[in-house]
Every structure is written in structure tokens, then in C-alpha cells.
């Protein structure tokens, strides 16, 4: 039987109250996210989620229709205007890290017309981020967000791997 006056039970109740809002949107959002899909050529990016929560107008600026905060994109809004918060909200839940694998391409062929053109993870990041960064004066150069690794320098023939300067380019 529930005994309201017992301190431990009160403690549990209090805890429940504290926890309740945390299960709502945004507050259970991570503070930072490590993005390392390009770790071969670039150092991982620590994405400051908390900072972006403050900067973005609302969650739907990045999360489209999955966070229960309305839908910023009028194209998505045609079907998803009043959606509740969904279980899958992280970028990679919908934007595949490997969007051009044979399996992904087959799935895509069976997709309805509205979702055949969902970007892969890297494309989604760069398309979404760079536009906004330009408007808001955020970093836009490749290495402003992710410094290149030594392997990256080798790949680009840059830094210590740069070719010796030629006397005359253009022939």
C-alpha cells in the first residue's frame, strides 16, 4: 500500500516530478555530439548541440518534423505539419551514413516519390549546416569545422605532402 507520508516514497515522487519534464523534447537532447563519419581524413567534430539549440529558431530547423515542434519546411509540412515527437530524432536515424550502397539504392527504388531524395548523412550535414553558417557567420571552410588528419593531408597532397612548386603552371 502506498504511504504518502513515508520519506522514501516522497523522495521517489519528487524524483518523478523532476524527471517528467526531462522526457519532453529538447531537454533530453544531448549537450554535445561527436561526429566522426569522416575520421579517415578529418578529426572528429564535437558538435555543440546546446549552442545550436540556442541559435536555431526551433528544433524543426534541423529536425524537420520529428521533434513535435511543428515543421519549418513547407514541403514536409504538406503531410507532417502536426506530428507528435517521434522516437527516432537523431540525424543518422533517417540520413544514412552509406546512402549509395547496393542495399540503400534498392530500398530507395521502392520509396514513395516524396522520400526518394533524402540526403545521406554527410550531405544532410553539409547542406543544412553550410547554408545557415553563411547566414549566421558561422565557420564555412572545411578545416574551420574539422582539422585534417595526416592521412587527409596525404590524400590532398597538401601540407608536408605538397608537390614541389612547378616553375610555370598553365601551358
Amino acid at each position: 500500500m502506498f504511504v504518502a507520508s513515508s520519506w522514501p516514497a516522497k523522495g521517489v515522487l519528487l524524483l518523478l516530478f523532476l524527471l517528467l519534464p526531462l522526457s519532453g523534447y529538447a531537454t533530453d537532447a544531448p549537450e554535445g555530439i561527436v561526429i566522426d563519419v569522416l575520421s579517415n581524413h578529418y578529426e572528429p567534430v564535437v558538435f555543440d548541440h546546446e549552442l545550436h539549440v540556442g541559435v536555431a529558431e526551433d528544433c524543426s530547423t534541423c529536425h524537420h518534423h520529428t521533434t513535435g515542434t511543428g515543421t519549418a519546411d513547407s514541403y514536409c509540412a504538406r503531410c507532417h505539419s502536426n506530428e507528435a515527437e517521434q522516437e527516432l530524432v537523431s540525424c543518422q536515424d533517417c540520413h544514412l551514413a552509406d546512402p549509395f550502397s547496393a542495399a540503400a539504392i534498392n530500398v530507395k527504388s521502392g520509396q514513395d516519390l516524396f522520400h526518394v531524395d533524402v540526403s545521406g548523412l554527410k550531405g544532410a550535414y553539409h547542406q543544412n549546416c553550410i547554408g545557415c553558417h553563411k547566414e549566421m557567420d558561422g565557420p564555412t571552410g572545411c578545416q574551420d569545422c574539422h582539422a585534417r588528419t595526416e592521412e587527409g593531408d596525404r590524400f590532398f597532397y597538401s601540407g608536408q605532402f605538397a608537390p614541389p612548386p612547378a616553375e610555370d603552371s598553365g601551358h
Partner: protein, 294 residues
């Protein structure tokens, strides 16, 4: 053995392979980072470039008195160029490589049969068979095949092969597509890519000119392009015919065995034709000039 494209042709099928793959290039998304050039270099084991791949001064380079920007070479199967257009306040970047034609003129022009159009869409070549005659260089409407001078004993043609051997054959995207940060390049079935391209134009009509370059040009190409500015302003040859180039020579090819038999009579005919046709060729030179930069 007939190459697949020749087989398809023999069967009267000019539409290419139904499940052929392709790449959709969206010029509005390209940021000119040149990562695709670096990826191509690594994947194809090409020699070190003259300048780093993150050196953007290459966009200033021009050749032939400023009329031509960079072109693919034997050492770089793809290059990215920068263009200015009045229709855009930002520069526009465009990646150039073999377009992997549905009915490749390079293939039909090659008399030793070095070229193959694979069912996946790639136009590949066998360098062991190539005799270095450079017919394909002349035949290609996009001026793609480059000639390797580095080995004087065994000169061969070199060009983008859609990463066929190492990737596309195994169901993987080409290296340039995989590396592209902004997904200006997407890989998929050509049919699906056309759908996606049309959908992007419908969704945002103000963003794109109303044309998918490569849908019909020279009978269609595996590589397709969307642009926000008129295609001719960003180095595309918009004067190309819609029919495969093979159509021009198909009838001629059929008559080749006969040629030997009626040789003298034919020559007289050719001579007559040549004299009669004089003065009829005024637009030829212009097409070539425009083609330079396509």
C-alpha cells in the same frame, strides 16, 4: 564477341540498359572543394598532381588564349572548374569527366573494339587492346579521352571508367561520389536519378533551369546534370544532337564490307559529293569552337 552496347544496338535497343546506373550532378550544390579530384587520383592510382588538391588557384588557369578552362588529362580523369554567370551572384563549380554515354561515340569509333559499355552503365576500355590511334579522342562529343604520352612505346587512351573495376562492378559508388561532402553528386539507377532530378525541379522551380543535361544529349548519358544557370554559361555544349552519334555512322558502317568491292565507283561518288557539298559547312567550325569548353 560483340560488346554489350553493340549487342544492344543489334537488338534495336537504343535506350541503353534498363538497370544502368548513373550519377546526378547538381551544380547548385557543388562548393568547389576539389575533394572529388583527390578521390579520383587516389582510387585510380594516378600520379601526384602539380598542385595540392586544396589549392584553389587552379580555378584561375585557362588555356588557348583564355578560351578554355581545365580539361581531364591522362593524369587527372576529372577536374572541377569555376564559372561566373550573370544569373548567379555566387561562382558556379562544375566537375568534368567522361559522361558514360548510352551510345558512346568513342566505342563506335574504335576499330579494335577496345571500349565496352557495361550493363551498369560504365564505358570502360582495354588498354592492352588500344593501339593509340586516337579515333575516340576525335569522336567523343565531350572531348574526354586523353592520350598518354608518358610511355612513347605504348601510348594509350586514358579516361574516367566510372570506377568500374574497383567499385561500381561491386555495387559501390564511384570514389568521387562517395567523398563529395555536399552530395552534389549522387549515385543510383539512371531511371531513379531522372525522377529525383525532375522532383528537385518541381519542388524548387526557381532554383533550376528547366533542363536535365544528359537526359537526351547524344542519345542520353549515364551522368546527368542539374543547373541553376543556363548550361552553356557553365561550359556545357548545348548544341549537341539528341540522337546517338552512332545514328550518323550506322548506315555507313553497314556499307563498309561493300566498299572494298565497289571501291573505284565509290571514290568517284565521293569526289562528286565533296565538290557538290562545298559551301554547305558553315556551322561546323562554330560548333567545334563552342565544344572546346564543354
Amino acid at each position: 564477341m560483340l560488346s554489350p552496347a553493340k549487342k544492344a544496338l543489334a537488338a534495336g535497343n537504343l535506350a541503353g540498359f534498363p538497370d544502368g546506373m548513373g550519377v546526378l550532378v547538381d551544380l547548385t550544390r557543388c562548393v568547389g572543394c576539389r575533394s572529388c579530384e583527390a578521390a579520383c587520383n587516389r582510387e585510380q592510382g594516378l600520379p601526384a598532381p602539380d598542385q595540392p588538391f586544396d589549392d584553389y588557384s587552379v580555378f584561375e588557369q585557362s588555356f588557348h588564349g583564355g578560351t578554355q578552362k581545365r580539361r581531364p588529362t591522362e593524369k587527372a580523369y576529372t577536374v572541377v572548374n569555376r564559372y561566373e554567370s550573370e544569373a548567379s551572384d555566387k561562382p558556379i563549380y562544375r566537375k568534368i569527366q567522361c559522361n558514360h554515354c548510352n551510345e558512346p561515340a568513342c566505342l563506335t569509333s574504335c576499330f579494335v573494339g577496345a571500349y565496352t559499355k557495361t550493363p551498369e552503365g560504365a564505358v570502360t576500355y582495354n588498354s592492352k587492346v588500344c593501339v593509340g590511334c586516337r579515333n575516340c579522342m576525335v569522336a567523343c562529343p565531350f572531348h574526354v579521352p586523353a592520350y598518354s604520352y608518358s610511355d612513347p612505346i605504348d601510348p594509350v587512351i586514358k579516361k574516367c571508367i566510372f570506377c568500374y573495376d574497383s567499385r561500381v562492378k561491386h555495387g559501390m559508388p564511384p570514389a568521387c561520389v562517395e567523398i563529395c561532402p555536399s552530395q552534389a553528386l549522387i549515385f543510383g539507377k539512371r531511371d531513379e536519378l531522372l525522377k529525383i532530378a525532375r522532383q528537385r525541379m518541381t519542388k524548387d522551380p526557381a532554383k533550376y533551369v528547366d533542363h536535365i543535361y544528359g537526359e537526351h544529349e547524344v542519345g542520353g548519358t549515364s551522368w546527368l546534370y542539374l543547373s541553376g544557370v543556363p548550361f552553356e554559361e557553365v561550359g556545357f555544349d548545348t548544341s549537341l544532337q539528341q540522337e546517338p552519334i552512332i545514328s550518323n555512322v550506322k548506315d555507313f558502317l553497314g556499307t563498309v564490307p561493300m566498299v572494298l568491292a565497289i571501291w573505284p565507283a565509290l571514290f568517284t561518288g565521293f569526289h562528286l559529293l565533296a565538290t557538290k557539298g562545298k559551301g554547305d559547312h558553315h556551322d561546323h567550325g562554330q560548333a567545334e569552337e563552342e565544344g572546346e569548353d564543354s
